[in-house]
């Protein structure tokens, strides 16, 4: 006798919890062959605003954590992702219609990307900061700091997990908190990643994942005054110029859409894009 499987309810990931959409809306996630896989939450404007509130509340703790601590937490994500590798391979296979080997390569790359970025947490300040030889009795130091709350439209292409990880990991390295709109057609691995994050010492609210329609959600993030930066990496199919114009009203830092195999490729510049350089002049005594 075959055992009847227990399917998972896929919900949002906001403030460290897994709520349904306040709107009560869901949308069908289909396999590559068109079979029903799950009902994903269709995030609303209110859900998105809740996510921004959660991200803002989590900011001081995450930004204030030591760089060594942030690096370890990011590495811990890689550890847990490795442990649940089979589940992700399975979800990617069914959602994206690829075979187990291709799905496995994607999960491996996603894990390695966490490891690569984890190692930057206590180094990027050294590489991008500067001691400045000013003409006067001052000790002058420039140091990059996190920009704040970063809203991300995750890559909407074929590699749903790798695209998501490539977009959120660099923003987290510096201590930003994130609201990310998942891959609309393949959102399952995003919510499962939320489960990994929830159990890997990432404080609640540091990463918030909203599933649903990027077309519907992105404008609310672009205009939200408590969002400091907007990564449009996966917004190529949206009217992203309008989003950028809207973001200009609050002078958000904006990254443009990217596509192709190299979209959101790992780069130090991707970490630095969501940092602000602070220069402090300390007066020296005249001896």
């Amino acid at each position: 006798m075959n055992r009847l499987a227990i399917p998972k309810t896929y919900k949002l990931y906001i403030g460290g919890k897994f709520p349904r959409s306040e709107s009560g809306r869901v949308y069908e996630v289909l396999s590559h062959q068109g079979d029903f896989l799950a009902n994903a939450a269709k995030g609303s404007r209110k859900d998105t605003r809740d996510a921004v509130v959660a991200a803002r509340s989590a900011l001081s703790g995450w930004a204030g954590a030591t760089a060594y601590n942030r690096g370890q937490v990011l590495y811990r994500i890689a550890e847990l992702l490795e442990g649940r590798r089979a589940q992700f391979v399975d979800e990617i296979e069914s959602c994206e219609g690829v075979n187990a080997a291709v799905a496995g390569t994607q999960v491996d790359e996603a894990i390695d990307r966490w490891v690569w970025y984890a190692g930057w947490a206590d180094k990027y300040v050294q590489v991008a900061g500067n001691a400045n030889p000013v003409s006067g009795p001052f000790f002058n130091l420039s140091v990059p700091e996190p920009t704040g709350v970063v809203a991300i439209i995750a890559p909407q292409g074929s590699e749903s997990l790798l695209g998501l990880v490539s977009a959120i990991a660099p923003a987290l390295v510096a201590g930003n908190t994130v609201v990310v709109v998942a891959n609309e057609l393949a959102p399952l691995s995003a919510i499962s990643l939320g489960e990994v994050l929830a159990t890997s010492d990432v404080p609640g609210g540091v990463v918030n994942i909203v599933t649903g329609s990027p077309t519907e959600i992105a404008p609310w993030l672009a205009s939200h005054a408590d969002v400091n930066a907007l990564d449009l990496v996966g917004a190529g199919a949206l009217d992203w110029v309008e989003l950028q114009i809207s973001a200009a009203d609050t002078l958000k830092r904006v990254l443009p859409p990217e596509t192709g195999a190299d979209a959101a490729a790992p780069a130090l510049s991707r970490i630095l894009a969501f940092t602000e350089l602070k220069t402090v002049w300390h007066t020296k005594a005249i001896l």
Binding site: N130, G136, A248, L251, T279, H282, T283
Partner: protein
């Protein structure tokens, strides 16, 4: 004469050799603008200094194509060391003509001669000298090996530090290998045009720097010109927003240095007399026409009375008057328009219930003047605690704990500057960590240096000027690496890499391809 009365000590204007009319500086020569000329006046006397040309659309176009031509034909082919030599020449010429430039700046802007002579012009020379040395060392700018220039830079600057802002813009742009079209502010074009004469003396190749004058619409035409690759703007947050909107969807790289409402925090263990000097320097330097001014004084409650008493006593010694007088501390407000804004916001401060106090100095009968003023009993919701006044007006707020000071200091959409006054090093470091501002001065204020990056958080803009970081604002990585593990992609906010604005989705998606090209 009584105590603190000084005999007049005006700086001589004899070394000035001004023309009555100035054209646009395009492709190495002065040419008349095709727009309606306007007069530039001395704000201390309201007398005309000279007539200035207005660049219309065709003139902007000519300037941009001259810059493009110079970029393709000359400047991009020059070695870094030769570019550097031109910049060194410019630095030396500025030093040689420093007094003349200082007098002209004071005449046109209204700021005291002691500031143009001792701050503005020396920093102009220092800025060119600093970036001159970078021109052949770009591999170390932090953008990776063999970085490339962007092309033609459109630069629009404000009236508060006319020639200094020009230097902040032009020096790094040229060092990085870009060519330039610069538009000075409408009320302060004079020294930019004298600088054009210096470029002729330096024999800088024609078209490498073009200076076009006019009002805001000329600037708008320039930043919207499809032929520019980089836009650098210093000015108001409102105009900065408009520029960010207009640049959206293009491949123009953008730097914005916008407004501020800097907090100057004085703790109870601060050396009070030094702090008072710092407060004065923070808000009355350059008549408060400073984007990074310490316009909000946050003073710990226990020392408030002492600090305010000493501050008022110190303010009474500030000498307001003829900007060319070497003893003048407070010069003229730059324009009637700015004076009206300062008056409007100050009146609002009174209406909202804050207590106004001004020094009892004599205000000259002609020109634009505003006596140094402080407001006490200010609360965080008052307009004078929120809006940038850009004048010699200080709003005083109090706090009890460091946490409250930090919360109040950060309670603004701006994030350009802040000051901390305390004798306790560990407290300074901890507070500096928590302040959301791009430049923080501990036991000093309003210090500038070409090696020190300057720029804002939040709505004070993005990008840095000065230092290695100011250089990278005019560079992009050389070649994109094919390997995923060796990052070479540049990610600069707003540097949208795609074809034309609102183009078809196909070209929107060419983002990464474009980055590989040039």
């Amino acid at each position: 004469m009584k105590f603190l009365d000084y005999a007049p000590a005006p700086e001589s204007q004899a070394l000035l050799n001004l023309k009555s009319d100035y054209g646009l500086f395009i492709n190495g020569d002065f040419t008349p603008g095709r727009g309606t000329p306007f007069q530039t006046i001395n704000p201390a006397t309201e007398q005309q200094i000279a007539m200035i040309s207005t660049a219309n659309e065709a003139d902007v176009d000519a300037a941009v194509s001259a810059a493009r031509h110079a970029y393709d034909g000359v400047w991009s082919r020059l070695s870094g060391s030769d570019r550097g030599k031109y910049l060194f020449r410019i630095a030396r010429l500025v030093q040689e003509r420093a007094r003349e430039l200082a007098v002209a700046e004071t005449l046109d802007n209204g700021k005291p001669i002691k500031e143009t002579r001792d701050v503005d012009i020396p920093l102009v020379a220092a800025w060119f000298f600093y970036y001159a040395g970078w021109a052949d060392k770009l591999d170390h700018a932090g953008v990776g090996p063999n970085p490339a220039a962007l092309g033609v830079a459109a630069q629009v600057i404000p009236w508060n530090f006319p020639l200094m802002m020009l230097a902040w813009k032009i020096a790094p742009a040229l060092a990085a290998g870009n060519t330039v079209v610069l538009k000075p502010a409408e009320t302060t074009s004079l020294t930019a045009l004298l600088f054009a004469e210096i470029l002729q003396q330096a024999d800088l190749p024609a078209g490498v720097v073009n200076i076009i004058t006019g009002d805001g619409s000329t600037g708008q035409t320039l930043v919207n010109h499809p032929g520019v690759n980089k836009v650098a703007f210093t000015g108001s947050t409102a105009v900065g927003r408009a520029i960010a909107r207009s640049v959206a969807g293009t491949d123009k790289k953008l730097s914005l240095e916008l407004g501020g409402k800097g907090a100057n925090i004085v703790f109870d263990d601060a050396p009070i007399d030094q702090a008072v000097e710092g407060i004065v320097r923070g808000i009355f330097f350059n008549q408060g026409h400073v984007c990074c001014a310490g316009s909000r004084l946050l003073v710990q409650e226990s020392i408030q009375d002492d600090v305010i008493d000493r501050l008022k006593r110190r303010m009474q010694t500030l000498r307001l008057g003829d900007p060319l007088d070497k003893n003048t501390d407070i010069g003229a407000i730059n324009s009637a328009e700015q004076l009206a804004r300062i008056r409007e916001l100050s009146d609002l401060g009174q209406q909202e219930g804050a207590e106004r106090w001004s020094t009892d100095c004599v205000i000259p009968t002609t020109g634009f003047w505003f006596a140094p003023t402080i407001f006490t009993n200010v609360s965080t919701s008052h307009r004078i605690a929120r809006d940038e006044i850009f004048g010699p007006v200080l709003s005083v707020l109090t706090f009890r704990t460091p946490a409250e000071a930090i919360a109040k200091a950060n309670n603004t959409p701006y994030g350009l500057s802040a000051g901390i006054w305390s004798d306790k090093g560990s407290r300074i470091l901890a507070v500096a960590d928590k302040l959301r501002a791009g430049v923080i001065w501990a036991n000093t204020f309003n210090q500038f240096d070409p090696s020190s990056p300057f720029g804002g958080y939040k709505e004070s803009g993005y990008g840095r000027e000065g230092g290695r970081h100011g250089l990278s604002a005019y560079l992009k990585p050389a070649v994109r690496s094919g390997s995923r593990s060796i990052p070479a992609v540049e990610h600069t906010p707003q540097a949208v890499a795609s074809a034309g604005k609102k183009s078809a989705s196909a070209s929107k998606k060419s983002a990464s391809a474009e980055k590989a090209a040039k």
